[in-house]
């Protein structure tokens, strides 16, 4: 216990690194096993963002230097800002070229939108 208190920063670094690696491994398992693009994308976006964020926070804590902390937080902020945008664009592209849904998907809000009949057109054959 005294050991833990004395080395609290290293334990924090180790905890953040472990959490980051675990989240990234879970993201990869999700991308590997989930049934269609849209579900895989949500594993790759959310879990991987959190995993990379935890690992970079570990770097910030470990080096304990102003420049390093600023840069690490900058990367975290950048990833948190860009990951949803990238996922949105990929998801839209996948929908437009008509990648099929998993059979368990019940809701398709894009299909109800007026004037967006690309899905119906592309359902007839090509992927």
């Amino acid at each position: 216990m005294i050991e833990v208190v004395a080395h609290w920063r290293e334990w924090l670094v180790l905890g953040l690194l472990s959490a980051g690696a675990l989240f990234l491994l879970l993201a990869a398992v999700g991308v590997f096993r989930l049934p269609d693009v849209y579900t895989r994308m949500q594993a790759a976006t959310k879990a991987a963002t959190l995993g990379a964020g935890c690992t970079l926070l570990a770097v910030a804590v470990y080096f304990d230097d102003f420049g390093v902390t600023v840069r690490a937080l900058l990367v975290v902020a950048f990833i948190f800002l860009t990951a949803p945008v990238a996922a949105h664009m990929i998801g839209r592209a996948a929908y437009i070229i008509g990648v099929p849904f998993w059979h368990g998907t019940k809701l398709d809000e894009m299909a109800a939108r007026e004037g967006d009949s690309r899905r119906a057109a592309s359902d007839e054959g090509k992927r």
Binding site: E3, V29, V37, M89, I96, I97
Partner: protein, 96 residues
Amino acid sequence: MNLSDGVFDVFVVNFLYLMLMAALLLAFVRLAVGPSMPDRVVALDLIANLVVATTALYAITTNQQVLLDVAIGIALITFLGTVAFAQYIERRARDD
């Protein structure tokens, strides 16, 4: 603060690397298998995140602050790559 201070056992560090490499392997299988183009782009996105995390871990284990700049570069380029891929897929679908 040094790596050999006790908390960072070599075994622990290697185990973290092993987890990241297992994740990389799974993502690479998805990249190779597909089956559609967006699947591969999603896998590439995940691989880039994994590389950023591996670089961060490597920066800690080797005590090199400079490697954080590598992580910045990879994070920047990845976003551009993903957006470019998405645009390319959409435009190709429109042109058909």
